[in-house]
């Protein structure tokens, strides 16, 4: 009598309710907050409509943060996928110590963002950093390059650190996709086509393309919403040189104590992310996932 076919919704309720509670309620509360003046130091929270959104869009930092976020995403996401794919292709080969190398490559994955940031601060440090030290030793520079305090270099430095933290996940997924390719197909390709580049383009790439697309979407979102590295490495600076929209959510909420404006920035980030996902998926060929 009580079969899943007759009352599917009721059977799903125990799973759906907690999910709804954990997602819909916070989102609804954030939406409510974004339409009220929620200053942490005042107990009253008057309704402000879209004032918080207007203030965010008109603020001096918004265009900078939007530009930085889009630039950061446009550089970081493809870079992670390309480097991740190249690393995966390299690690797929068997060589002496390959297992050790694989473990080392995965290391950045297990480090928390804040630890990675501290590590990269020391790499980029102008006086004691590994990078400037190496460049000096090679005779490439005389003085020191202010990697994190120069407005022109700071964003690039943070991108490098971000890409480093994201590559291991890309490597794991691409290696999984590579291992799923039929070994007979690879053997036939090796006989028919001697150029590794052409073999990759015509045989391997079509097989791993769906995974690459998934990775691209994931990394675009990860880059667009990244926060911890910026917070720890540059604090969004110098000025607004590395201020990303996601960092501004924290800044408005926890530095300026304006949770209303912070939530408004958060919803703007969500809206842009949704448009981004839609644009990427629309741009894909419709038969991409066929046969999966």
């Amino acid at each position: 009598m009580w079969t899943t076919q007759r009352f599917p919704a009721i059977w799903l309720l125990p799973a759906l309710l907690p999910v709804a509670l954990m997602t819909i309620y916070p989102i609804a509360y954030a939406l409510w907050t974004s339409m009220h003046s929620v200053l942490l130091l005042f107990p009253d929270t008057p309704f402000t409509g879209i004032d918080n959104y207007v203030r965010v869009v008109k603020s001096g930092y918004f265009l900078d943060a939007l530009y930085n976020s889009l630039l950061f995403t446009a550089i970081a996401a493809p870079l992670v996928v390309v480097l991740g794919t190249l690393t995966a292709l390299f690690l797929q080969r068997r060589f002496l110590g390959s297992k050790i190398v694989r473990s080392i490559v995965l290391l950045p994955w297990v480090l928390p963002g804040a630890i990675s940031a501290v590590l990269w601060i020391w790499v980029f440090h102008p006086s004691f950093g590994v990078l400037n030290g190496t460049l000096r030793a090679l005779g490439a520079i005389d003085g020191s390059i202010p990697w994190l305090t120069s407005p022109k270099l700071a964003l690039i430095s943070v991108v490098v650190a971000h890409v480093w933290t994201q590559i291991p996940f890309a490597v794991v997924l691409i290696m999984a996709a590579l291992s799923a390719i039929n070994s007979e197909t690879l053997e036939a390709a090796a006989i028919d086509c001697r150029s590794p580049a052409r073999r990759f383009r015509h045989v391997i790439l079509p097989e791993i393309k769906p995974m690459i697309v998934v990775l691209l979407i994931y990394n675009a979102l990860a880059a667009f919403t990244t926060y911890d590295l910026v917070y720890a490495m540059t604090g969004g600076g110098p000025g607004t040189a590395t201020t990303l929209l996601s960092f501004q959510i924290w800044k408005e909420s926890f530095s300026m104590y304006d949770f209303g404006t912070g939530s408004a920035v958060a919803f703007i980030v969500v809206a842009i992310s949704a448009v981004m996902i839609l644009a990427i998926t629309r741009a894909l060929p419709s038969d991409l996932f066929e046969g999966d």
Partner: protein
């Protein structure tokens, strides 16, 4: 019958509490701190507990960057909190929000006035809101101009007295091969990024705000405006090596590649620490350059929450605790000063032999005493820390030439005046 037994048991339990005063009267104070030298804090707490049977203190610590946010969330979330570390920049907002209480509400009559007489002027100002004292000093310090004695002596350069002389000295050192003569803490996320700027402007005698607390620093004749222009020029001339944290300034100055910096005095203590710094002893304090030679003094302090002040028993225990930590005979303040090099707001400690001996190893005490005597407090308002969070990135931009000084000062002043009006209307 059952009811009878229950009543008997209840009477027995109540009796046990009444005959055992420790169980009946024990109070556990919730003490929120940032985690600087936690072991010393815990040890001081132990000593207090030993001297005050019946009062326990539970310490909850946060990292410095998270402290302010965490405390505000504790207040708003109703987390039991009795005694806290307060800060001069947070006090107006916390007091206006009704989170902390004036000490007169909890101290015995005359006790606060008696302690006030010993506290440095800037520290007293920092702990006062609308004429009432809200704290006793845990740590009070000045932001100082530090130079490398040996480098200047070797090059025959006099200790600069104005910012223009600092530029001239730095340019001479740069011409002599020192890449960046000035090491500067450049981290816009830290409140002291703004405080250090104010300290330099005070050196010029700047008044950043007028008597009605309206912004005055956007006037090109204002010392703060001139100082930002000076910083932007120094950066553009390549005289400055930016560092992200004071801990790195200690290392950088000890490479001998920099001659000047502006930092808290405890950083000077660390620079001159012979145990782990190669150039220890070479660094000295000089009066803040500028026509006025004044600097910014500030105070971190013990404060009591309003909720605790409203409960007579807890209020009494809280007063005993902060009086132990910061009151006469200043044993705890002396300990912080002697062991850790932390500054103090209790002026009699300048005459204390153990402090003079400990501090004399790394700082010139007469110069410091003079600096403390002339130090000025900051302008701290209900909206100050939020405004500072807005203004610091603008300052950072101007310093590295990403925005014109005029625009930054204009934006900062507009925002200040806007927030001032906004808070007045709430």
């Amino acid at each position: 019958m059952k009811l009878c037994k229950l009543l008997t048991a209840a009477v027995l339990v109540s009796g046990a509490f009444l005959t055992n005063p420790t169980m009946a009267e024990d109070i556990t104070l919730e003490f929120a701190v940032w985690n600087y030298s936690l072991e010393t804090i815990q040890d001081n707490v132990k000593k207090f507990e030993a001297a005050n049977p019946g009062i326990k203190v539970k310490v909850t610590d946060y990292t410095w960057p998270d402290y302010q946010d965490s405390l505000v969330l504790r207040f708003r979330g109703g987390t039991p909190t009795d005694v806290i570390y307060g800060g001069q920049d947070w006090l107006p907002a916390w007091a206006a929000g009704g989170f902390v209480a004036p000490l007169d509400d909890i101290a015995p009559a005359g006790a606060v006035d008696d302690l006030k007489k010993d506290i440095a002027g800037f520290a007293l100002s920092d702990m006062t809101y609308k004429g009432k004292l809200y704290g006793l000093p845990y740590y009070a310090d000045t932001i100082s101009f530090i130079y490398n004695k040996k480098i200047l002596e070797d090059k025959g350069i006099a200790v600069p007295k104005t910012w223009e002389e600092v530029t001239a000295a730095a340019e001479e050192l740069k011409a002599g091969g020192m890449e960046h003569p000035i090491s500067y803490e450049y981290n816009q996320e830290l409140p002291n990024f703004f405080d250090a700027f104010v300290a330099q402007a005070y050196g010029r005698g700047a008044q950043l705000f007028d008597a009605e607390q309206k912004a005055a620093f956007d006037n090109p004749e204002n010392g703060a405006y001139k100082q930002l222009q000076w910083l932007a020029d120094a950066f553009s001339k390549g005289l400055v090596q930016p560092e992200t944290h004071e801990s790195k300034i200690i290392l950088a100055m000890n490479t001998g590649q920099h001659a000047f910096t502006v930092v808290f005095n405890y950083v000077l203590a660390a620079m001159n620490n012979a145990a782990d710094q190669p150039l220890a002893g070479q660094f000295a304090l000089a009066p803040m350059p500028g026509e006025a030679h004044t600097t910014l003094g500030f105070s971190k302090f013990y404060a009591v929450t309003a909720k605790t002040a409203a409960d007579p028993a807890r209020a009494e225990a809280a007063w005993k605790f902060i009086n132990f930590m910061a009151g006469k005979p200043y044993t705890v303040a002396k300990r912080w000063a002697a062991e850790k090099g932390l500054g103090f707001g209790q002026l009699p400690l300048f005459e204390d032999q153990s402090v003079i001996e400990a501090w004399g190893k790394w700082i010139d005490m007469p110069t410091l005493k003079q600096q403390v005597a002339t130090a000025r407090a900051g302008t701290w308002t209900e909206w100050g820390s939020q405004w500072s969070a807005y203004f610091r990135p603008l300052l950072a931009k101007a310093m590295v030439g990403e925005a014109p000084v005029e625009q930054v000062m204009k934006d900062g002043a507009e925002r200040w005046n806007q927030m001032r009006e906004q808070f007045a209307s709430r």
